[in-house]
Symmetry: C2
Subunit: 411 residues, 2 copies
C-alpha cells in the first residue's frame, strides 16, 4: 500500500516522464495557480531530474482573477497587451512543452456579468488564435493534469470539511489516474495499448457517419470527414517525442464533418465553463449548426459561448469513452472537464484538432474547411455518454456496424 | 488597541492610498511572491476600492527560483526573452504604477555558484536598462513595501518557531511603519514634513562635499554634484501624482559626484544581495572608485557585484538617516535592504536617480555624466550608519557646517 506522499510523487513523475514526456535538454512551461503551487514544485523537481534544460512557471491567483472580474470594465478585461501574445509565440517557436495544472474553482466567476466573461474570452481567443497551433497541431508536447484544491474539492464533496474534501479529491485523482497500482507507468502503457486498438479499428472502418441514440432523447447523426483519424492516448510532437495531452485520458477522438450534424443531442453531465456551471442542457442541430438549445442552469453563459463567432455553434471534436471507465466507476462528478470528459462520450464545440485528418497538420485553413474540419476561437467539451447509449457506424456503401452498445465499445 | 487584522488592513491601505497614491482610473502592477500572496490580495482589494481601473499581479515562487538556479546553466539563467522586456516597456508606456512586495528569504540563493547569479543579474539588468527609467526617473509612481514570510521571519528571529516568528515580524513591520498609531496616515504626513525640512535645509546649504567620520574606521569625503537635490519621503510622478517610493522611509537622499569619493568606508549592517548575505565589509575609495575591499562573509558575491560593468564600483546614492529612527530603535536587524537602509545612513553602488540633480529627469546620459551622476546596471544599497557617526558639510568657499553628530541630524 503506497502512502499519500508516494502516490503524489508517482503522479508528478507520471506527468513529467510520460505526460509531457520530458527528455534531457527539453524546455517546459507550466501553468499553475497559487492553490496548486506545491504540486507544481513537485513537477518542477521531477522535470529537472529528467534533465530539463529550462523550466518556466506561470502563476495565477483565483482570488485576484475574481476581483479583476468584479471590479474592471468589459473593455479593461478585454485588453490583451502584446507581450502576452509575444510570450505565447516565443514558447511555441522555442519548442517549450506546455503543462497545465487544472484544479480551479468550477464556479469561480459565478454571478459575474456573462458579457464581461464572454468579451474577455473572445479577446484572448482572438489574440492567441495564431499561437494555439503549437498545441492544437501537436507541434510541441502538451499535457493537462489535475491537482486537488480547496474550492474544487468543496464543490465535489460539499458535505466534507475542507481538509477532508481536499484529501478525498486527491484520492479520487490517484484512483482515476491509476496511481494506486504498484507500477502505474506499466498500467498506463497497457491502457494506452487498449485505446490504440480501438482507434485502429475505427480508422480501418472509415465510417461515413455515426448515429447516436439514447433513451434520454439523444438521436444524432454525425458525419465524419474523408480521411479522418481517430486518435487515442499518446501523441507525437513535431520532433517525434511522445506525450499524453490529457491525464487521465480515456478517449478515442476525432473531428466531425461540421456540415453534416443533424438531430437532437442531450448533455448528461454539468459543464464548468468560464467559471460558471451549465447544467441540464440539450441542442437541436441542422446541417451542422445549432438551431435551438436550452439549459436549466447557465443558459445565458451557454448562449454567449455559442455566439463567439464563426465555428462556435458547431462541433469540432467527437470522442468515444466507455461508460465503464475508471472515472465513471469512481461515481464522482468532478465539475472539471478534464475528468468528466474522460468519464463519458463527449463532443466539443469549436475548433477541431487538425491532426484528426490525414496530413491535417500541414493543410491550409481552406483545405481543412473543404473537409469540414471546424475552425473557431473556442474549444469547449461537453459530455453526452449514457448507460444505454448506442452508436452505429454507417459506411459509405450503407453498411451498418455496431460501435457502442449499452454505453460501451461493442468491439 | 488595534487588532492584528486592523493593522494589516491599515497597512495595505497606506500602501495603496499613500504609498502608490492610487487615484480613480489608475493602472497598477504588483510584484509578489506566493509567500506574500495573501497580503497582495488585500492590496488589490484596497486599490479597487480607491478606483483603480486595472490591476495586474505578477507572482513568483521562491522554491521554484531556487530550483531554477540549482539546475539550470549560466547560459539558460542569462537568457532574457523579449516578451519580458516588452512587458516592462508596456507597463512604463501605459503609466502603470508599480508596487513591489518584498519579504523574500534573505539567503534564498545561499550556496549557489555566484557566477550564475551574477550572470543572470547582469543579463536582466542589461535587458531592462532602458525600461528602468520609468521608476528611476519617477515617470510612474512606484512603491516598495514589506510583508512577513516564514523564511524571512526565521532569519530575523531564529529562536522562535515559524508561526511566532512570522507574527513577530509583522508586529515589527507595523511598528516601524507607524501602524500602531491611531491615525497612521496623519502620523505619516507629520513624518514626511520633518524629513522635507531636513531636505530643504540641505538643498539650501548646497554643500560641495560631505566628510564622514566614525570610530569604526570610516573616514570618507564624498563630493556632491552642482545643482544636487536632496529628496525625502514623497515624490511626484510625471503626471504630478504624489507617491512614496519606500514604506518605511526615513531617508533624505541625493546622488554623489561619483568622481570625487575618497577614503575609507566601513559597512555597519549585513547586506542581503542576490539571495546571499555579505557581512563585515569595507572599502577604500580613490577618485570615486573602489580600489580595495574586503568582506568577512560573501566576499565573492561582493566581488561579482562590483564587477558588473561600468559604474558598478562607484556610488550612485547618498542617504542620511538618523541613528534614532524607529527602525533602529526596534533593535531588529531585518536582513532586508528596504528596512535596514531606512534604519541607517547608507550609500548605494551603481545607478543614481537622475531626479537628484536639478532637471536631471530631462537630461541626456552625457549631461548627467558631466555632473558626476553615476550610471550602471545595478543599484545596491548598503548601510554605514553608526552611533558616533559625524558628518560635516563643506561649502565651496571652505566653510564647514555640522550635519550629523552622534549619529543624528545636528540641525
Amino acid at each position: 500500500m503506497k502512502t499519500f506522499e508516494e502516490k503524489l510523487n508517482d503522479y508528478a513523475k507520471l506527468i513529467s516522464e510520460v505526460g509531457i514526456g520530458c527528455q534531457k535538454g527539453n524546455k517546459i512551461m507550466i501553468r499553475t495557480s497559487t492553490e496548486t503551487i506545491e504540486f507544481a514544485r513537485l513537477i518542477v523537481k521531477n522535470l529537472y531530474e529528467l534533465g530539463a534544460e529550462k523550466v518556466v512557471v506561470d502563476i495565477s491567483d483565483e482570488s485576484i482573477i475574481r476581483m479583476n472580474f468584479e471590479n474592471e470594465s468589459k473593455e479593461s478585461l478585454s485588453e490583451v497587451p502584446d507581450y502576452i501574445v509575444q510570450k505565447a509565440k516565443y514558447a511555441g517557436e522555442e519548442g517549450y512543452g506546455r503543462i497545465s495544472i487544472t484544479g480551479g474553482n468550477p464556479e469561480l466567476l459565478k454571478g459575474i456579468d456573462s458579457e464581461k466573461i464572454e468579451a474577455s474570452n473572445r479577446a484572448f481567443g482572438l489574440a492567441l488564435k495564431d499561437t494555439m497551433k503549437y498545441t492544437m497541431n501537436d507541434i510541441v508536447s502538451w499535457c493537462v493534469a489535475g491537482a486537488s484544491t480547496k474550492a474544487w474539492a468543496k464543490k465535489v464533496f460539499p458535505d466534507l470539511d475542507e481538509e477532508e474534501a481536499v484529501r478525498k479529491l486527491w484520492e479520487k485523482i490517484f484512483f482515476v489516474t491509476r496511481m494506486d497500482e504498484d507500477d502505474p507507468v506499466q498500467k498506463w502503457r497497457d491502457h494506452l495499448d487498449t485505446m490504440a486498438k480501438h482507434a485502429d479499428w475505427l480508422n480501418e472502418m472509415q465510417f461515413d457517419r455515426l448515429i447516436y441514440k439514447s433513451s434520454n432523447g439523444t438521436n444524432l447523426t454525425v458525419g465524419l470527414p474523408k480521411g479522418h483519424k481517430f486518435i487515442a492516448g499518446d501523441s507525437k510532437n513535431a520532433k517525434g517525442q511522445t506525450f499524453i495531452a490529457n491525464i487521465p485520458t480515456e478517449e478515442v477522438f476525432s473531428c466531425p464533418d461540421c456540415r453534416r450534424i443533424d438531430g437532437k443531442l442531450v448533455a448528461t453531465k454539468p459543464l464548468s465553463y468560464g467559471g460558471n456551471i451549465i447544467d441540464n442542457f440539450s441542442f437541436e442541430f441542422k446541417d451542422g449548426k445549432v438551431v435551438s438549445f436550452k439549459a436549466e442552469v447557465g443558459e445565458e453563459v451557454l448562449k454567449d459561448m455559442l455566439n463567439q463567432g464563426e465555428g462556435a455553434n458547431t462541433l469540432g471534436e467527437i470522442a468515444l469513452v466507455p461508460y465503464d471507465s475508471p472515472i465513471n466507476n469512481s461515481k464522482v462528478l468532478f465539475y472539471n472537464t478534464l475528468f468528466d470528459e474522460n468519464a463519458s462520450c463527449h463532443f466539443a464545440f469549436g475548433k477541431a484538432y487538425p491532426t484528426c485528418v490525414e496530413n491535417g497538420e500541414n493543410m491550409s485553413n481552406e483545405e481543412l474547411k473543404e473537409l469540414g474540419v471546424n475552425d473557431s476561437l473556442i474549444h469547449v467539451d461537453f459530455m453526452v455518454g449514457a448507460r444505454d447509449l448506442e452508436i452505429v457506424g454507417v459506411k459509405e456503401d450503407g453498411e451498418e456496424v455496431k460501435v457502442f452498445e449499452n454505453g460501451n465499445f461493442a468491439i
